[in-house]
Chain length 500, copies 2
């Protein structure tokens, strides 16, 4: 056996590298600096990274401690600083660190989790978490089902597949056809891009997306829904699914699930909720009212890697009627799933998710839940939402800022609005502020278009963010904005509010 | 701020838990025992897991060292023992341990990688690995493209989407329709189930899958392809993609890419290769001949979490024509992708993969490549393939075993075939042997149907497997098989050869 190969698998060598790695991570977590992002030109970073690659090609290079340190440093230093209060950009969170260690165990032990025999504890943990989180949905626990999958986009696609296949049982075999009405979905104007994409992927066609208008806070205008659905039907469309958001990516708006369910139920339309961001509010007594009506919906996408603070991805897809979960995919022709299920294979999820090899993504969540209990999550969620209300109050008190909505969760959109600017100027100003802040490296925030005009957007994912940090941010935005205006250089930038 | 919440994020607390965790993993890696799997009744495991969950619901429970140890132990002990020579089950591998540490950094720092600004180094590392691995494809590096995605099933779906959208530019907007021929794909009888599933997902319909027959080694019979494609065309099908395997899941068979390309090119059919398992053989001088013709194909799925020994998932999807990568998804309507790309966003992959939040799955692979060089992979691949040839030789020398094929990589299928049994008996016998071996816990192997009769299957993913282990396995199979026959209890089990 090759000595270099054996050395790369050497347990004491692993242990030494692990000590260096975890010490480096401890320093990273301990870093008190306020910073958002150190943005580097790709060409510069490419050069730096290339220099870290061994030139050895003929033999297995020996472990080089210095090289590993440099790689870790470059990785940590160039990433978004999710553990710093300077990071208010998107729905990525500094994870509960213990969750990272569970991921380490998963990675080294390499347990795939689509099949019970290959990953026994992950499959059991999925059942346990379905039970724990299912309590907050108000569904019949015996009938409902949950499957984990690789991200919210995948979960939305899977739910739409299940809905499509229920409404059009022939599609799986015969493909999309004209008979019985053209398949269509109804979605909010503010739905995440993964939902409209799904129409393209599934062969439905983007033209057969029925768009539902939103109010000024980003919520579906329920009064407009019935006439729109009627009109769609008259155009020969058969809307099989309506997708609501809890909440939207842009403004964190929560669509009125109860009212939407009252409209979809009598029509036999599947109601799917993209709760990637906001479903976690169900855990909070204070905030679960945002999802009133959740008991009436058919399926729910819930990203634990957002407001449950575990490493990405960890998405949970819930079905009120568990039998629907089996309808997303069919593989009767395949020999994997043909035989009689036994006591072990009854726990398999491979027939219900797209993945064959699936990361045991539930393990960090189940471990945190088991170690710390649900209060870990509710305390943090409540704190973040409270801080967002405080941010709203602070910004509303500034005469040269305009806040665009009352925050429903931990997302807040606003503009720096000194007097005398028209919409085009305001638009360019926000983009310029956002990009300069990003380049300055202390605060990282995002931007989003609202009513055709760019706005600034903060997402509070870090419980270490205090009013002092928000004060600093307001000052920095004002200073930067004033400088931009003085320089007359309110250059546009790239809008990216739909990236979560 | 809640003290319990703050404690869960405490850096010294993380460091202490990390020390326990990495010490436990070192012991796990050091364990010399030959073991496959400790199969536990789900109800029993459920009870054990439930007992590890804190009863605390009102406050954040404190970190409990004993509980964390018990969780790690239960996780590691009930998993497939990928680092032991007793595990020969499927294409899961004991990873190079350093890769697990990189995953730990990714998990704690939580960098998503669909957008450059959110994960700068992962995006640069993707470019570097595209360059490094692309050399082995013989494509024009300037024109080709690579995108990472969450598993081989996802990559196959994405490639088929790109192929579908190129052949039928109207589908994305207008949905699947009859005009211009019914969209269809041609796939091997032995293709992985994710490929036939894709036809159902994409609205093509499973009935519009054209099946290509395979020879006794599991390779597409090239001579049969042209008439089958002609016949499909006459039935009104428009085959836009042919999917080949390098190699198949069942037997590790490599379809003849050069000959298939010669057939698909003149017909304008996209040739996609599911190389999830076998593409890694490209790195080996000794074995890359199996993929002769790879330079002529249109796209390739390559799972680094199989034969490049990194944590799952890490799938690379290569396109010979990079512009095709942008065709899988369209999101012009979405505001994320509308604006002028800048130097940073030019590296984004969000428009080319389904995921919005995507794990920086490239980082473990790039780090191993940078630290150890390519020889780490080629040495291990060569060793595994050589041991599989040896396993073939050993089994062929046993009078009561039948080997079903010359191994093309590191997968070998065979049967225990004492005299006097008919096919039905042989079938039941193999299933019984496999399940008993699994239950006994020393060896974990898989089974697969070949020609309608079950066979035993080993996948050699561990370089620590020696001829002595194979001898032990042969003895154990014979002993177990004889016992089954004596007991007359050759009860059937569940076949699962298509799970990789």
């Amino acid at each position: 056996m090759d000595a270099g190969l054996a050395a790369a698998f050497d347990p004491p060598g692993f242990h030494r590298a692990a000590e260096q790695c975890t010490l480096r991570l401890r320093r990273y977590l301990d870093d008190p600096e306020i910073k958002g992002l150190d943005l580097v030109e790709p060409a510069v970073l490419m050069k730096a990274a290339r220099e870290l690659m061994t030139a050895e090609r003929d033999d297995v290079a020996g472990y080089d401690e210095g090289r590993f340190h440099q790689i870790m440093d470059l990785y940590l230093n160039t990433g978004i600083q999710v553990h710093s209060p300077g990071y208010l950009g998107r729905q990525f969170s500094g994870v509960v660190p213990l969750a990272g260690l569970v991921d380490l165990v998963s990675s080294v032990a390499n347990q795939p989790s689509s099949f019970y025999e290959a990953g026994q504890l992950p499959n059991v943990a999925e059942r346990l978490m379905a039970e724990e989180l299912g309590r907050f949905l108000g569904w019949d626990g015996e009938r409902s089902a949950m499957v984990t999958t690789s991200g919210g986009s995948m979960a939305n696609l899977t739910a739409l597949l299940a809905a499509r296949n229920r409404a059009f049982p022939g599609i799986w075999s015969r493909g999309v056809a004209e008979e019985g009405g053209r398949p269509a979905i109804a979605i909010s104007e503010d739905a995440h891009y993964s939902v409209s994409r799904a129409a393209g992927v599934l062969g439905i066609g983007e033209e057969h997306i029925v768009r539902l208008p939103v109010d000024e806070c980003g919520r579906i205008r329920v009064g407009a829904v019935a006439p729109i659905l009627d009109a769609a039907e008259q155009r020969g469309l058969r809307v099989f699914c309506l997708v609501a958001s809890s909440g939207t990516t842009a403004m964190g708006a929560f669509d009125p699930l109860d009212e939407l369910a009252a409209l979809t139920r009598p029509r036999g339309i599947w109601l799917h909720v993209d709760g990637a961001h906001g479903a976690s509010l169900l855990l909070s007594e204070r905030h679960r009212e945002r999802l009133r009506g959740i008991a009436e919906v058919d399926s729910l996408t819930w990203d634990a890697h957002k407001m449950l603070f575990v490493p990405a991805p960890c998405t949970l897809l819930f079905y009120r009627d568990g039998s629907a979960a089996a309808g997303a995919f069919r593989q009767r022709a395949s020999y994997v799933f043909d035989e009689e299920p036994d006591v072990y294979s009854a726990l398999d999820s491979g027939d219900k998710n797209l993945e064959c090899t699936k990361r045991p993504m539930i393990m960090p969540l189940w471990t945190l839940w088991s170690m710390y209990g649900p209060a870990l999550f509710t305390r943090k969620i409540d704190h973040l939402c409270a801080m967002t209300v405080q941010a709203h109050r602070m910004l509303a008190a500034e005469p040269d800022f305009t806040v665009l909505h009352e925050p429903e969760a931990n997302i807040l959109c606003f503009r720096f609005t000194p007097e005398g600017l028209d919409d085009a100027d305001l638009h360019a100003l926000q983009l310029a502020i956002r990009n300069r802040l990003r380049a300055d490296g202390r605060f990282f925030i995002s931007k989003v278009h609202i009513g055709g005009v760019a706005a600034l957007r903060v997402v509070l994912m870090n419980h270490k963010i205090t009013a002092e940090h928000l004060d600093l941010l307001i000052t920095e935005i004002r200073t930067t904005g004033s400088r931009v205006l003085r320089e007359g250089a309110a250059a546009g930038g790239r809008e990216d509010g739909s990236q979560r």
